[in-house]
Amino acid sequence: MITRRHLLGTAGASAALALTGNTFAEAAGAGLTPGVPPGLGTVATMEALPGKKPLIKLSYRPPNYESPLEVFRTPITPNDEFFVRYHLADIPEVDAKTYKIKIGGDGANSPIELTLDDLKKLPAFEVVAVNQCSGNRRGLSNPHVVGVEWGYGAMGCARWKGARLKDVLEKAGLKKETIEVAFDGADGPAVDKTPDFIKSIPVWKAIEDSTLIAYEMNGQPLPHWNGFPARIVVPGWTGTYWMKHVVTINALTKPQGGFWMIPAYRVPVGKFPLRDRFISQENATSTPITEMVVNSLITSHRDGAKVNPGKVAVSGMAWDGGYGISSVQVSTDGGKTWSAAKLGQDLGRFAFRPWSFDFTAKKGKNTVMVNAINKLGQSQTPELIFNPAGYHNNVMQNITLNA
């Protein structure tokens, strides 16, 4: 059996080439993340969805497209380069004129319907927040996890504007027995028996000030592929809860069921250093994924890049589940000693935090490792915390720069 470990080493590279022909050349063309399955290189291409710039196409249908590394050199990700992720293939064009959101459920005293105009008449709030797929970097999991084999780019950071979810829930008369708030989008499955994508969050998260029903992204209407006309924004939490094309919001006095709540989108209990818990959905062995783990990415250079000997400026982004980045540490000696990087513009605790670090490259191979630390004191992991769905990959990057 071939394992990921065998393919990672130098010897492994030639083994993979022998296996898959010109995979690596094609992979480089599509800007793939080093370490993703060689087979991805045979199907991944740079392709543009309508209204988007070319992104790395992992699958056509449902559409799953990730952003190339270079997109993350700015703390705000442009709308037309923002990643696209769908579970189900029936994605309608939603007409903003007839669009309505139904707000109800057994936890609502007075169910209501809101048009896009109604939503825009409510007090508007903005938040800069990272939207990251739970399975970002799944393609780097060892052992392999079957699924969409994301590299680094199933994420982005935008300025989201919309109404507060809590203001909308208040209009529907939230009962005190409400424990969860569930969302459904306009998109649906290709066959009737496939479970519709319905997700819930605990009521305490739903009524946080930063949780929005967003109709603007970076000052523009949401792109179709990112949830036009409106989507849920749950800052700090992974993208699975950020329902696109949201058409139904239900206040619930009982836990939401269904495939996408259990068994999907779960992590083993106690395996990750997380504070936010979703207790009404927890069982003895698994719990829904919640807040993002602290993470960082080198965006100035790709692994194996050529640099000139002498001063090299390395930079990138760091982010977490909304506590804020306190420090980014860089090591150029394989992790023996660490120095603090300079932090850039602070766009808020949910945003990408830019960082930069200068070091002197010696002739030959240089390594750069990065470790972000948040205000709770949480840091990245040196070794993958394996879990069956390939979530929460925040392994410290260790890239080589050749001078």
Binding site: G39, V43, S59, V146, A190, V191
Partner: protein
Amino acid sequence: MRVFLIAAIAALIALPAAADEKPVQLKKAPGLDKVEANCQACHSLDYIPMNSPFPNAALWDAEVTKMIKAYGAPIDDADAKAIAEYLKANYGS
């Protein structure tokens, strides 16, 4: 015509439209007809090579079962077996 279409698309900013899906060529081998007849109803075929070569026989079996049991794919037993055998022989380890 093509130029006209591109101009029309450019004129309508954020015009939602289906992805321009190109055929995904899988390895020609026994069982490919069953894969093409069943799997493409719900998803494009790039999902298969994307995961290769890592899944072993048990993982590919589990994946076919998941498509039927969890996602409700209407695939009969004989086709499911042929699909699993195709995946193991051509995209497994």
